[in-house]
Amino acid sequence: MLRVTDVRKVFGTAHDTYIALDNVSLDIADGEFLCLLGPSGCGKSTLLNILAGFEPPTSGSVTADGAPVTGAGRDRVMCFQDAGSALFPWLTVEENVRFGLRVRKIPKAGWDSIIDKYLRMVDLDRHRRKFPAQLSGGMRQRLQIARMLAVEPQVLLMDEPFAALDALTRRHMHAVLLEIWQRTGKTIVFVTHDIAEAISLADRIGMMSVGPRSVITKMIDVDMPRPRDLTNPRVAQLFNEIEALLAPDLARAE
């Protein structure tokens, strides 16, 4: 379980400070699919980076299974928004996946079958010898997911991974991700500014207010069977509710 307690994050120097997060508290259960939803610039990436251990909170604490998070951990792997810069462009598809296995000193004998398994899972096994530059945006993002899954972390931290994809590809990626989640039982913290995306994926949606001093304003349980179709009246109603909640914030964000 991930536990965030009274986390504040202040950026800047003594004279010019920006309070990005103000007393954010959050519990994330094992195996849960949590979406963090909020307008751009509200501090979603900041919170995710703190969860990953890339940046320390200014005050407050983060624990993973009771142990304080002080740096990047083997159990939590991040999937970045811009796959183009997160991938290793000089390594082929399979070499990108192999990188994690190598640095984790996983026995060589197992590499081939692990790489095979996860490239198949994201449907990239026919493109093993291509370089990231030769892949489409959706394929790059799938590669990033395969690379992340291959080191078998318990928690996947995903920062607007599908924001740059076209609507059709994004829908496909949602299906891929949900299937992987259902099959592997990972904990997923998924950041998005897209209401429809949050609704189609999440068990729970954490709504964040616009910064400065962003907080989690509301937790919404989404207990509807997947796949969730926006034409379904219950889903549509939830969409409208969330939109109404965000409306004042969006006006301010502009």
């Binding site: 290793f88 462009p89 370089f131």
Partner: protein, 289 residues
């Protein structure tokens, strides 16, 4: 892409009645090396021929042919220089100077740049010095180099080294500093240690910048070896220029000038060939999606 090119290039040869190679050189070239490249090669040749023609007209009808000798006269001046091997000896000497200075300068520039780009304290310590010294071009350093090292090989090695060092150093520092944070963090949470991130992620990410710096430095080495040889040498292409100038042998000066152009071009092509062969995988900048 490849398919389109293949079908294009295969078409003329396959057509009955057209003899490849005779029907049209344009077609023939197309068939040999693909439409796009064939065309640009032909255009390059046209451009060179045209420049030669203009040169000929200018030197014959407009300017004094002693000041600007016509192409044919330059060609005749080149023949004995080629036959005696004189020009090749000069080329070999200048190229050796460039290569020694360039390779040592690049090596020191890369090693220092990688360290300065990564270690904050070192960077802050050396950056002001680099920012000042970079304005001392190799040419500005010739007088002191002669006093330090004489007019033997060492002074030329030093001058080329000096010029290369700063260009490669500054580019390497920039490349190391511009490794995307996301890439480093991705490696970190995949399990890489700090050293692994440095060696396996930061340095490969900097390769395009390093190579660009080396290419610029290579071109500038060929430029700066000439003044060095003019002022402080008794061999090499620069010395040939200087000597021919003293003897008012303008055709020989032109031979030397053309040699510099061709030599720089060839060495750059070899460098690019090497990069394409060995470093190609490191050279792709992935566009931001």
């Amino acid at each position: 892409m490849a398919n389109v090119r293949d079908s294009n290039s295969a078409a003329p040869a396959a057509k009955p009645g057209i003899k490849p190679g005779i029907a049209s050189p344009f077609r023939w070239l197309r068939a040999r090396i693909g439409a796009g490249r064939g065309q640009s090669l032909i255009l390059s040749m046209v451009s060179l021929l045209f420049a030669g023609l203009i040169w000929h007209l200018l030197s014959t009808f407009v300017f004094n042919p002693f000041l600007i000798p016509p192409p044919l006269e330059v060609f005749y001046a080149a023949i004995p220089m080629i036959k005696s091997g004189e020009i090749f000896a000069d080329v070999a000497i200048s190229t050796t100077r460039v290569l020694v200075g360039f390779l040592t300068g690049s090596l020191v520039g890369i090693v220092a740049g990688v360290l300065l780009g990564r270690i904050r304290v070192l960077h802050d310590l050396f950056d002001p010095i680099i920012e000042l010294l970079r304005y001392l071009s190799p040419t500005a350093m010739i007088p002191i180099a002669v006093i330090w090292f004489g007019i033997g090989e060492m002074s030329k090695y030093f001058l080329i080294f000096w010029g290369t060092l700063f260009i490669v150093l500054i580019n390497t520092i920039a490349g190391v500093g511009r490794t995307p944070i996301a890439r480093q963090r991705a490696a970190e949470c995949l399990g890489a240690t700090r050293l692994q991130i440095f060696v396996l992620v930061v340095i490969p990410s900097a390769v395009p910048y390093i190579v660009t710096g080396m290419r610029i430095a290579m071109a500038s080495s060929f430029m700066s070896v000439i003044p060095a040889e003019i002022l402080a040498a008794d061999s090499g292409i620069g010395y040939l220029l200087q000597k021919s100038s003293m003897l008012l042998q303008t055709p020989r000066i032109f031979v030397a000038l053309i040699t510099i152009c061709v030599l720089g071009f060839i060495v750059d092509r070899i460098f690019r060939f090497f990069v394409d062969r060995v470093l190609a995988r490191y050279m792709s900048f992935v566009a931001v999606t």
